[in-house]
């Protein structure tokens, strides 16, 4: 039991820090840049992404088996994974719609419009494809995908914190907006690579 938990946690922690979705692989960056002005929205979006990718990883792990020895696995895997994501999206949507308890239902009303963007996101598809191509076990896949989602959330919070600071400063006109945010992420990415020191597989 301890071994299983350790296995799960190790892959989760590695995915949060050393193989961070945004800082190491730029996955989900376009969505993060679109939401960068609102910290609350970013945390919600990150939480939704984490839930989506973790639940979908179970199904993608199961469907990866027939694909392993298939010649054109690289071509078919994304299509089959998108089908899994569609299925899981509808299930999560129905479950969230059935929750009637007032405090949570009110929050869910605000969250539901973002669920489709959180599900159909390069951070989700990227994590699923990575865990499948590395041939992880089920626990490792779930741990990696959970860590990927949490790492995405942590990274978006860091970026939002940076935006808060950047907005109060006299950034040159040509650097305002996207360029300075990218440079901010670049410097944080430098830090992550100072930890790992190697080029990650993709």
């Amino acid at each position: 039991m301890a071994g299983f938990t350790a296995n799960f946690l190790v892959y989760a922690v590695v995915a949060i820090f050393a193989e961070n979705a945004i800082f190491s692989r730029a996955l989900g960056l376009d969505r993060a840049l679109a939401l960068v002005d609102d910290m609350g929205n970013m945390v919600t979006f990150g939480a939704l992404t984490t839930i989506s990718v973790t639940i979908t990883s179970v199904f993608t792990y199961l469907v990866s088996f027939p694909l392993q020895n298939f010649q054109n696995a690289y071509a078919w895997r994304p299509f089959i994974f998108i089908l899994c994501m569609v299925g899981v999206y509808f299930v999560i949507s129905v479950v969230l719609g059935r929750i009637k308890w007032a405090p949570i239902a009110r929050r869910l009303q605000k969250i539901r419009p973002h669920l489709h963007l959180a599900m159909f996101n390069s951070a989700v598809l990227g994590a699923l494809l990575l865990s499948s191509s590395q041939s992880y076990s089920l626990l490792q896949t779930m741990g990696f995908c959970l860590g990927s989602g949490l790492g995405f959330t942590v990274a978006t919070v860091y970026v939002a914190e940076g935006q808060r600071k950047i907005q109060n400063r006299s950034v040159p006109r040509s650097f305002k907006g996207l360029p300075v945010t990218l440079l901010y992420i670049a410097i944080l990415s430098l830090c992550i690579y100072g930890f790992t020191g190697y080029q990650l597989s993709f």
Binding site: Y158, E161, G162, R164, K165, I166, R169, S170, V171, P172, F175, P179, V180, L183, Y184, I187, L188, L190, C191, Y193, G194, F195, T196, G197, Y198
Partner: protein, 315 residues
């Protein structure tokens, strides 16, 4: 310089920091010859020119009394070996001044310490050049040849779990192959006295940083030796004491409140040791600076909030 000038504040701050570094440069010249000074001059001149160029791009007048870029260049050069090539100093100055400082709005607006960003950048690009050092008390020629013997620092031995073959006294006087800032601790502490007397850094920052580093080295040693020896070796090998003053103590990137400074310094120390223990490179402080600079304002905000709630409950 005229005290009423708008750049007087940063001029006096930079002047005092540079004066504090003079003993370190004297030691570096004694240990390696005039090359470190020339390396610093190249870095400082290129940083100044890049600063002037950025001011021109922003269509603002550049005051040549603005020597804040000299500080970043000097600190960056201190992390290099005496045998570092001159082009590396120019590249480092570009990253520090243009990317880490001017892209974010210039002096006072930079989120990350420019020297830390440039050293981190150079570490990733040219680790074999940055982490190979000449032996102390060897005259490093101004134009490098192939005959210069370069070795790794004690931090590299610690990284692989070994003990550096050095006496304690050698670590204290800086008699080991290491970066230019790895000089005698007594010399570095003299810089500390000047900075604290002139009130250019807050004592909370270096003290909390050194306490955190010592605590991690004492309670979680990475080498098979006594805890005290581990503490001694970790604190005195490398650039920890220099970082405590010049990286951690940077007033632009550090938080503003006293309690925040204590938390920030301690966090800086813990993250530095994490990078030293588990990171890919022997020197962890520059990478830790990036990670911790990003949360300085967050720490300030939370401390202000907590203090506000505390005073409300008391009332």
């Amino acid at each position: 310089m005229n005290k009423s000038s708008p750049v007087y504040g940063r001029f006096s701050q930079s002047r005092d920091v540079l004066l504090a570094m003079v003993p370190l440069w004297v030691m570096a010249v004694l240990m390696y010859g005039p090359r470190p000074l020339l390396l610093c001059a190249v870095a400082v001149l290129s940083a100044w020119l890049f600063d002037a160029f950025c001011a021109k791009l922003r269509q603002e007048p550049f005051d040549f009394h603005d020597i804040s870029s000299w500080v970043s260049a000097a600190i960056m050069t201190m992390f290099m070996p005496a045998s570092a090539p001159y082009w590396m100093a120019v590249v480092g100055s570009f990253v520090a001044v243009v990317i880490a400082k001017n892209a974010f709005g210039g002096y006072g607006n930079n989120i990350f310490n420019p020297a830390a960003v440039s050293v981190a950048f150079l570490s990733l690009f040219w680790p074999t050049v940055l982490y190979r050092y000449p032996q102390p008390f060897t005259q490093v020629p101004l134009i490098l040849g192939d005959d210069l013997v370069l070795t790794t620092s004690p931090l590299e031995s610690l990284k692989v779990g070994g003990m550096p073959f050095l006496e304690k006294i050698e670590l204290i006087v800086g008699n080991y192959a290491g970066p230019l800032c790895g000089v005698s601790v007594v010399v570095v502490l003299s810089s500390a006295v000047l900075l604290l007397v002139r009130k250019r850094i807050s004592w909370q920052l270096p003290v909390s940083f050194l306490c955190a580093v010592s605590a991690v080295a004492y309670f979680f040693p990475r080498i098979h030796t006594t805890r005290l020896d581990s503490l001694f070796i970790e604190v005195f090998s490398g650039s920890i004491v220099f970082c405590a003053l010049f990286l951690v103590g940077d007033p632009v990137t550090a938080p503003k409140k006293n309690i925040s400074k204590l938390i920030y310094g301690a966090l800086f120390g813990v993250v530095t040791m994490l990078f030293r223990y588990y990171g890919a490179y022997p020197m962890g402080a520059c990478f830790a600076a990036i990670a911790v600079n990003a949360v300085a304002a967050f720490i300030d905000r939370k401390v202000t909030l907590a203090q506000g709630r505390y005073y409300q409950t008391r009332v």
